[in-house]
């Protein structure tokens, strides 16, 4: 079982609806990443945090998503207005800090279907 907990496992939304997913990183991991994996198995980096601060994000995330990692609460990623093309597996990963880096731990993902 993964030490990174993602909920819900499955999410079905209509176009235009909000879609919110959550992630509890592994204990002691202040760095959190969100990725989108499409039906072609391609991974797209969305955003990452260190503690509560955004480190990097892509344009799409900035324009259409709302994401946060508050202290003492799960991280969240919310699509403000879902589109069919947002149907994908959303994966959260956490890692320890530092330039040396260490391995990511991935959650099991939230599979979003936008109908």
């Amino acid at each position: 079982n993964s030490k990174v907990i993602q909920t819900p496992r499955y999410l079905v939304k209509g176009q235009g609806q909000k879609a919110k997913m959550r992630c509890i990183p592994e204990k002691g991991h202040p760095v959190v990443f969100w990725y989108q994996q499409n039906k072609n198995n391609e991974f797209k980096f969305l955003i990452n945090f260190q503690n509560q601060e955004v480190l990097q994000q892509i344009d799409m995330t900035e324009k259409r998503f709302s994401a946060e990692c508050p202290s003492n609460s799960p991280c969240s990623l919310e699509i403000q207005s879902s589109e069919a093309g947002d149907s994908a597996l959303y994966l959260c990963a956490s890692s320890p800090p530092g330039q040396g880096g260490s391995d990511y731990t991935f959650g099991s993902g939230t599979r979003l279907l936008v109908i």
Partner: protein, 109 residues
């Protein structure tokens, strides 16, 4: 942008045989991680390497940062090894990973 070229894209192995997967990087990476994605979509961490070689059971992985590649060797393949294998590489601790396109492995009896 930074790219990870993973090969082969698909592989069939008979039980008990082995093969190697490879990832080439277009820029210098500091670390690589190999994952197996199962049928439910969960990514299972196989190896994390900042250099050198690691071995775990029937799996062995090597990362050569200078020559910009990494390999994953599978020996004595078992049916449960079937799945999609991904390499992912990054430049540093807080940098995003760049993923390869995956290798779909099917182990047949």
């Amino acid at each position: 942008g930074d790219q990870v070229e993973q090969s082969p894209s698909a592989l069939s192995l008979h039980e008990g045989t082995g093969s190697a997967l490879r990832c080439n990087f277009t820029t210098t990476m500091r670390a690589v991680q190999w994952f197996q994605q199962n049928s439910r979509g969960s990514l299972i961490n196989l190896f994390y390497l900042a250099s050198g070689t690691k071995e775990n059971g029937r799996l062995k992985s090597t990362f050569n940062s200078k020559e910009s590649y990494s390999t994953l060797h599978i020996r004595d393949a078992q049916l449960e090894d079937s799945g999609t294998y991904f390499c992912a590489a990054r430049k540093g601790g807080n940098y995003k990973y760049v993923f390869g396109a995956g290798t779909r492995l099917k182990v047949i009896a």
